[in-house]
């Protein structure tokens, strides 16, 4: 147990300054965005006096350094400020929206793993043949297609032409009452509530965005699985196992197991990337996720949501990396020494 604790403690020591740097950079970046929130909030007809009052009240007249220390103190207390678009605290807004993004990204990546991993292992085992060709071209093609375009094509096929899927608006039918919030994931919540109608509707809304993310992100997972399995398959211990006459399936299982840490790494990197990177798919499906919230913030000079999103997603990806470290610990016996 001790090495594990030491390992995690060392990680956290590195994480804190990094987090500080992220907040610092995003604070100054966001402050540089032109556009006066006071004008946006009160409209073009507001008097100069009320504008000045509002600016003063929001602290925009203070020196930047003082604004920064204020912000940092607030963040440390978990207060990310207020969004003038929704007129609600950003923390509340984000807690409402992040589950939507996480549900989308998690299911999308699970599908990507289900496609990419077996195909990658199969392609690594075969030097030639159809599977190999399919894997090679799939890897390149998946990285070349824009996800928002693929989402539109899927909408056309499955909604407009075939009509199998409900209209691509939001996470659940307007007419259906969403289940009581427990985990924030509509699928899990409706399962917990035993609400089959809500479950069917939320699964229907989830299908296309998840399919989009799954098809696109299976590419990198496939490539990594393939190249790492190929490497371990040509390594000495596999040759030794083959020489000993172990059955092919046992040897393959050993080789794949040795390739797993790198595959876990690419999955975690994708997860961190998609928390902010799924925003285009969110927009196409009017998903109402956190990325969409942040983009709206940038486009409307609503600064607090942008900052809050960056802080939130940075913390989330750091948590992801921490979990990945724990998985490494389980997978790689050398770390436990």
């Amino acid at each position: 147990m001790m090495p594990l604790v030491r390992y995690i403690a060392r990680r956290i020591v590195f994480v804190v300054p990094q987090l500080f740097g992220i907040v610092l950079v995003s604070f100054f970046l966001v402050k540089l965005i032109p556009g006066d929130p006071a004008v946006m909030m009160l409209g073009p007809t507001a008097s100069a006096q009320s504008l000045a009052e509002l600016r003063d009240k929001m602290g925009f007249t203070k020196p930047l350094l003082e604004q920064l220390t204020h912000y940092l103190a607030d963040v440390a207390r978990g207060d990310l400020g207020t969004s003038w678009q929704t007129t609600r605290p950003v923390t509340e807004d984000l807690f409402q929206r992040f589950p939507a993004t996480l549900e989308l990204v998690t299911f999308g990546l699970l599908l990507a793993i289900a496609i990419g991993f077996p195909l990658g292992v199969a392609a690594a085992r075969l030097k030639r043949g159809v599977t190999r060709k399919v894997a090679d071209y799939y890897g390149l093609l998946a990285g070349a297609l824009p996800d928002f375009w693929l989402a539109l094509v899927l909408i056309y096929v499955f909604y407009t032409v075939l009509g199998w899927i409900p209209a691509p608006l939001g996470r659940i039918d307007m007419a259906i009452l969403p289940p009581p919030t427990i985990s924030g994931s509509l699928v899990i919540d409706s399962l917990l509530a035993g609400d089959w109608e809500a479950l069917r509707s939320s699964l229907g809304h989830l299908a296309l965005p998840v399919l989009t993310l799954g098809l696109i992100n299976a590419g990198p997972i496939l490539k990594m699985t393939q190249s790492m399995t190929e490497r371990t398959l040509s390594s000495d211990f596999v040759r030794y196992a083959e020489m000993c006459g172990l059955p092919r399936r046992v040897v393959l299982r050993q080789a794949v197991r040795a390739a797993l840490p790198s595959v876990v790494t690419i999955i975690s990197v994708l997860y961190g990337f998609l928390i902010g990177g799924a925003v285009l798919v969110e927009i196409v499906f009017s998903w109402g996720g956190a990325g969409q919230y942040a983009v709206q913030g940038v486009l409307n000079a609503d600064l607090n949501p942008v900052l809050g999103f960056v802080v939130f997603s940075a913390v989330l990806s750091l948590v992801t990396y921490l979990i990945v470290d724990l998985i490494y610990f389980a997978l790689d016996p050398r770390l436990r020494a």
């Binding site: 032109p34 390149l140 070349a144 375009w149 407009t160 285009l280």
Partner: protein, 315 residues
Amino acid sequence: MTVGTRFGSDAAAPATRVDAPWRRRLRFFFAVLRARPSFAVGYAIVGSVILVAVLAPWIAPFDPLKADPSVYLLPPGGRHLLGTDGAGMDILSRILYAPRVDLTIAVLGTLVSALAGGAIGAIVGYYEGQRAWRRALSATVMRSADVLQAFPVFVFAIALVAVFGQSVRSIVIAIAFVNVPIYLRLMRSQVLSIRQLRYVEAAYVAGASDLAILWRHIIPNAIAPLVAQLSINIGWSVLLTAGLSFVGAGVVAPTPEWGSMIAMGFQNVVTGQWWPSVFPGIALGLTVFGFALVGASIEVLADPARRRILSGSMA
């Protein structure tokens, strides 16, 4: 007689005519394309995209900006080969004009990031682990790169565009910014491993200055992976540009650009007119695919070990 001997073994045969080195290289290149047809496809795609970008005014059948409301949303076929969009603009002409914007942004953005990232990476890699303040400097640079990479790329890019104002120049800056850490890391790791080779030590003993060693001996040997990355990255930057335009933070609407064309056709797709969005997406995907293939081919050709395997399989 001795001209060609460095490049191949068949130069030893006295009967063969001695070619200039560049012709041997060209012949090797075509042999590689024959052995790996997918590379040829990549070069063909990239070549034709560049050609289309240059020749757009002569090959486009219509003015890409002329909106004719009397022919809006015509299906593909007939006078408008790929149909017209919701404003009555010819889709084919707009697709042909689009690489002018998309490629310019992507190529400029990646070039800037490769130059900046490569230069910083080379210096950091060369001085790393030497005297105390230099070590501190390289540690600071690497940690800053960590911070830069920890940002959500897309939101970061949108914020940068917002800061610099919505223009082609800002998109180039945003793309350069988000790509710098990639080249920084790549160049640093290359320099770190080349720095300790014998010929670098020899140059040092001979009294060459740090700058001369870096410029003449290390960088020429470290640059190949960067060039491969450059090609892959151009494709990726085209995707990012299109994404920015799609949310309305990139190229402004009537300018022909693939991402904004897809965005303009968004509402039409739901009601059944697929062509305004689908065709630009295919053009975009093909372009990125082509640059990825070219990048893969450079990766193979620049790596002596993999090149040897390739020429072995060609013989």
